[in-house]
Subunit: 196 residues, 2 copies
DNA sequence: GCTGGATCTTGACTTTAGTCATTAAATGCA
DNA sequence: TGCATTTAATGACTAAAGTCAAGATCCAGC
């Protein structure tokens, strides 16, 4: 059965502000492949090259590293209508420093770098979307960097509560803690204090 | 006297991998204006819209915020052959959350967003450069985020020593500390320990 | 429903980094 | 050169976050 490309088309059109022709949609359908991941399965393992970029139709994932002490640090939490990949590895075809793992059962539409370059990038709406994404990502990264440098754990948590309240429902607390750069115990205590 | 555009042309050609024609160079010369800043002068103040993006021909600057306690946090240190701006404010024409201040006497080539869109973006080498920059910046932001989340102050300092050794010569230690998200005292002690 | 693993909470303690105050050194510049 | 300002170092203390260990709770799958 064919996957549902509607979310992807909507996403590209919305971000780019351009409309996709029927022909262009066919190019997407021809080159993106449906991929399913069960909870806990890996989309990418540290040391491997990130061959695919995937559009998340359903489910969620975390991008994380493991340090020398064996502690995991979550760099990114990804949900529906986001792209799943390690930019650096995907664009430069270098081994990745990250692991990407499904936190829920996932459905992706994925494609290789080579096919993107050959068939997808020439589609103006896609190229425009890509620039917008890079721009947005850069801005978001700058904001997050600012909070990492200048705010306490408690302030970073409050910001997350305000900006991504649904994350709190959707992800276990230890994942949120790791995303914020805190130990699970510390986040537990922060929440306890915040309730007063 | 006309400013020296050579560094800018070299930079655009190097990043884009394309050559600029004489006509295209004239477009640059026509629309970029030379701007000088003395040490400590502001290129941008919090609350203002970042009207210009500037290519740094000479000198250096810091991008920083001031928190409620009056503490400054440096988000970015910029030197020759980098662009100086607040992405978010410049692209979206929203008031900036950042201050940008010269750390040394500076010479910039600057231009407004509107003029970039009208005259400069149509130059293929420039558009290509911009995408590469966004890509590189995204990758760099991810790396820096990773160290902020998963490394101690000492490890972050060691990384800076390895990656940007010239920063240590060029910028006072309290600026470096702020860039690393540390108090000046803490960085002083880290350095003392590291010398053993 | 029962069970085992995962998640969360809490307490006691340690480590890391920040704060405040003081002194020393370096630097700018008149 | 000499003085004022900035920058850096250090000590004593405080605050924030991490660590380790134990127990409680939740939940998926049989």
């Amino acid at each position: 059965m064919m996957s549902d490309f509607t979310p992807l088309f909507d996403y590209v059109e919305r971000l780019s502000g351009k409309v996709l022709s029927a022909d262009e949609k066919q190019v997407f359908i021809r080159h993106f492949k449906s991929k399913k991941l069960k909870k806990r399965q890996y989309f990418l393992q540290e040391g491997d090259v990130c061959k695919y970029t995937g559009f998340i139709v359903k489910g969620s994932a975390r991008t994380f590293t493991v340090d020398e002490k064996g502690h995991e640090h979550i760099l990114k939490l990804s949900v529906e209508n986001w792209w799943l990949n390690d930019f650096e590895s995907f664009y430069q075809l270098t081994p990745s420093r990250f692991n990407i793992q499904a936190l829920e059962d996932m459905e992706l539409l994925q494609i290789t770098n080579a096919l993107v370059d050959e068939f997808i990038k020439p589609i103006p709406a896609f190229a425009a979307m890509q620039n917008i994404i890079n721009q947005n990502y850069t801005i978001a990264a700058q904001k997050r960097m600012q909070s990492a440098i200048s705010q306490s754990g408690e302030e970073r948590f409050q910001e997350l509560v305000n900006e991504y309240p649904h994350f709190l429902q959707r992800f276990p607390q230890n994942m949120i803690a790791s995303y914020l750069g805190l130990s699970p115990e510390t986040l537990s205590r922060i929440r306890k204090n915040a309730l007063k």
